[in-house]
Symmetry: C3
Subunit: 146 residues, 3 copies
């Protein structure tokens, strides 16, 4: 178990600010439906699709935080921080795109980063459970091999 959490905290703070920014954009979408973004150009169906996607980002943030902290806590702070950055940048990059066609594509990079974080976290928790309840420490055995 890692004890240093400052890197995790930095990424968490940055992503929290990103979330606040996304939520402000969503609120603007809702309250002024005709002035969403300069590039939307009156395509209403696309706008509602993009709003739904933006909302799914905001809704998925707690799930990301859980995977991120568990991967960082049980396995490695550095790996989780890098993947967290990829996740954030993936969303931001897609979000800032101004062409409707590119916007309507999926958030592929971020989804992959979240999946890898979840897998790493699951492996870390599994080894911790093995160590705790069956007294079988995989990490020590691997370290002994080298």
């Amino acid at each position: 178990m890692a004890v240093d959490t400052s890197l995790l905290a930095v990424i968490s703070l940055l992503s929290a600010m990103q979330q606040v920014y996304f939520i402000k954009c969503l609120r603007r979408c809702r309250t002024k439906p005709n002035t969403t973004s300069p590039a939307s150009s009156g395509n209403e169906e696309f706008d509602s699709t993009f709003e739904a996607k933006l909302q799914s980002i905001v809704g998925g943030y707690p799930a990301f935080l859980v995977c991120f902290w568990i991967a960082g806590w049980f396995v490695s702070q550095g790996v989780a921080a890098v993947l967290g950055l990829v996740y954030m940048c993936g969303y931001h990059w897609r979000f800032c795109m101004h062409t409707a066609k590119e916007r309507s594509s999926d958030f592929y990079l971020s989804d992959k980063a979240l999946q890898i974080l979840a897998v790493i976290g699951a492996v870390g928790v599994f080894t911790a459970l093995l160590d705790e309840y069956l007294d079988f420490n995989i990490m020590k055995k691997i370290y002994k091999l080298f």
Copy 2:
């Protein structure tokens, strides 16, 4: 205060995956309004009710995480893990039901599990506060009685 958190981490990871699954369902509901689920059979009013409920689950996830971790941290890891499982299974069971009538009923089991988690967490935090600021350790007194 319990130090082992691996069980809490396992349940958190599982519930995060459940959330991601729910969010994907919600996104599909939004972007393709006519193809929500095989069992909805064109009842649009019911669909919007169900969508609102699904969204309230996603919105309530951080509140669940807070109650879950505080109950697990300040009181007992095992009790919190069991209640967390009940909460998850309650939602999943309701979600997978295919009859409209059953779906429109409330998420009774999960709501109850969340309430119990909140009460346990509140009791745990209260005893911790008493111990810290008034130097009055209830647990030790109870242990001495037996």
Copy 3:
């Protein structure tokens, strides 16, 4: 780094309960659009604005939790607890207002509290990073001055 987290846990539990209350109000807004609140008096445009705001509170809750815990963990438990209370009361006060004009104004107090929490958290994490990677402990240097 502070180790006592009971005050943070108390505020988190309270805010989680507040969130559950907000989400119930949102769910009622959605499922019964005509009976939202006694004071809305049929002004539908205002209602949808208020619903969007309420939803942005629920969506912004994880970001608040991150800033709150990081500020409390890396800097000071007391300061974070006070700001967390201000954040909660700010929302609740606005939420309970019954005049449409007052409701439609922004959540100024809570937004400010969140910003201060984010700044405090950022400063705390920055000093922790300096201490960890450059071995430069600002707090010790400041303590030595006095």
